[in-house]
Symmetry: C2
Subunit: 388 residues, 2 copies
């Protein structure tokens, strides 16, 4: 029962702080762009999936699947919100894939969205802490900078990863973000800028942390025959996988290995019939710069413990052995949490179609996206290519 599934259209808003705009305005903009890009009509759409982490706490609104259908002018169409913290976008993509694969739906629109600047930053930080274990972590006051700081410090102790190396992730991602007109931060930062920025949670400084961001991203998926009918450049989903880990960090055997990423990555590679060395570029979840190092290790782009070193050696730059976060990543492109997993898929689509302009990876044939929830309790991995 093979039923190949492709991305046939993509669209996103610029990421940033949009004081004057609301949640529904953002998601309808990205949705409209994706629908136009796909060349479909509203009546072609069989179902909608929305990844959104915590609109209840950020804008007082749940039930956002129906909201999106309503404001997209698609009243009646089945709409589903899914949530797995910052991995909500990747999760929405996985569910939409299953929905088409089931045969019940044929063309499915998948959006991710978050409006984070309607509350004070400290309230957003507390809302985001809902991704951690409330009883064992959040209740005691720890938020995500603190959790990732512990992971970073342990990685430094175990593998000799340096302050310079975790800072170089930021320098590289800002350099990439400068080339991305959708990025929140389109400017360079120097190694000294990063290393002299304010301390947030030792060893993580301000410029090691992704920002609070408003934004939305949407892709349109279709099954094989339909994809070919509408689209000259369908981007095929070759692998899609989802895995979990303990919600709290202290329950894990290791806090420097994202086991859910190892598992989801392994499943996605197997499904796609490829190995890490076949991947031409990847968008990974750099909510903090240490997270990018953990991601590339867990996905097999280098050995465990060597993520800092290959960053320092320039292997993850555009033009390097395995370009990582050509979009600017969460660090420079921005991180509207529910939208991030979908925005990653959009960057992969643009790279594979050869539409990534100044940040284009040469001969990009196979791309991977990795989207993490919390400190790694959920991970989704997708593998895309122009060939089935």
């Amino acid at each position: 029962m093979a039923r190949d599934i492709a991305i046939i259209g993509v669209g996103m808003t610029k990421f940033g702080e949009f004081w004057e705009r609301g949640y529904r305005s953002l998601i309808t903009e990205s949705g409209s762009r994706a629908i136009i890009d796909a060349g479909i009509d509203g009546k072609d759409i069989d179902a909608i999936y929305v990844g959104s982490m915590t609109p209840g706490r950020l804008i007082g609104q749940e039930h956002v699947g129906a909201l999106v259908a309503d404001y997209a002018g698609l009243v009646g169409v089945p709409a589903t919100r899914v949530e797995a913290a910052c991995s909500s976008g990747g999760l929405a993509l996985h569910q939409a894939y299953l929905a088409i694969k089931s045969g019940l739906y044929d063309i499915v629109v998948v959006g991710g969205v978050e409006k984070m600047t309607d509350v004070a930053t400290e309230h957003a930080t507390v809302a985001l802490a809902g991704a951690a274990d409330q009883e064992w972590e959040g209740f005691h006051g720890i938020t995500f900078p603190g959790l990732y700081a512990m992971m970073a410090r342990r990685h430094m102790v175990d593998y000799g990863t340096t302050d310079e190396q975790i800072s170089m992730v930021s320098v590289k991602n800002h350099a990439n973000g400068k080339l991305n007109p959708y990025a929140q931060f389109q400017y360079d930062v120097s190694l000294q800028d990063v290393m002299n920025s304010s301390m947030v949670a030792d060893p993580l400084r301000l410029l090691h942390c992704s920002p609070i961001t408003d934004g939305a991203a949407t892709v349109v998926l279709a099954s094989g025959e339909t994809a070919k009918k509408f689209c000259k450049k369908p981007v095929w989903i070759r692998g899609t996988a989802l895995a979990t880990d303990t919600l709290s960090l202290h329950e894990r055997k290791s806090i420097t290995k994202i086991e859910a990423s190892v598992v989801a990555g392994g499943k996605a590679y197997q499904m796609a019939g490829v190995k890490p060395s076949d991947i031409d570029f990847a968008e990974v979840h750099d909510c903090f710069t240490i997270a990018e190092i953990l991601a590339i290790e867990s996905l097999g782009f280098c050995k465990i413990g060597e993520g800092g070193k290959i960053t320092e050696d320039g292997e993850t730059k555009i033009g390097g052995r395995i370009p990582i976060n050509t979009s600017g990543g969460l660090k420079a492109k921005g991180h509207p949490v529910g939208a991030t997993g979908i925005a990653q898929a959009i960057e992969a689509t643009w790279q594979l179609r050869g539409e990534a302009d100044k940040r284009q990876v040469k001969d990009a044939k196979i791309g991977l996206t990795q989207n993490v929830g919390g400190s790694g309790a959920t991970c989704t991995v997708h593998i895309f290519s122009m060939e089935k």
Copy 2:
């Protein structure tokens, strides 16, 4: 690519106010019961779906898919939270069905859960208002009793529905709940009790409203061959459908017809190859007693406008033409919002297996469940039978 899917195990907690228990304790109890009922082992489980409306606002916890996998001892297993307000449970069931139908997963556990009593009742009411349109409804202060009160008043004006009729729904559902050991309220209320209870939002009084409830419910789904291997009495999902409507009430052509229920019901009937008169019993979404009247009209159990009359005539009682809410419904069984859609499926399972004890519907062969989000912006309908 037929791939029949059945419920092979069910389990739920008692519904009520459990000051001494937490979210994870409730969902793991219902999950354990369902797994034991199904006779499966943890290692058989391919994926988990969790329906939960607003744990972020009620207990400060998002990311509950991973939480459930973790606390169920199923670390690593793919876990997805879905949300569509009070229809989150029905939505989880629909997504789990798609997941199995896709062929990627074979045995899927679907839970629904809400812990509502950890915050003051007024805060729970505000959190629930997140199911309405925050910008056009919630912002102006209206909560759900007010929205449903307008629907009730309009129904009275248009169709002559009476205070007595909307009160008789409560009397019937309490009579049924008295027979259900899992119900929050296991006692009778008289017509006078209902009609003399405190006014909440004219014409809706306290005993027209479902309560704030803690609880969890879980079902285990499996594909055809697997279902037959594990289970002597698989309950087949014959129809599953999801539809949406405008999020805000004032945007609709009619506020006395739940259009999403008409659409989802129509699709589910078509998928199952049955018509309303083939249904032997139904669990419907009586968050307020008027909602039960709207539900039975939208599902075709009577003409539009006659829901009050057939209630008054006793047609919806156990032993009547079409028994509605034999479990006690949301009114008497309780309404832990994310759990409700799953608990409805459990009542259907017990009825079809002939295990509903004193509230057993004679010769029950085909059952229907209808689960509504908000004032009707989402509706899921499922049809079950012992025969494929």
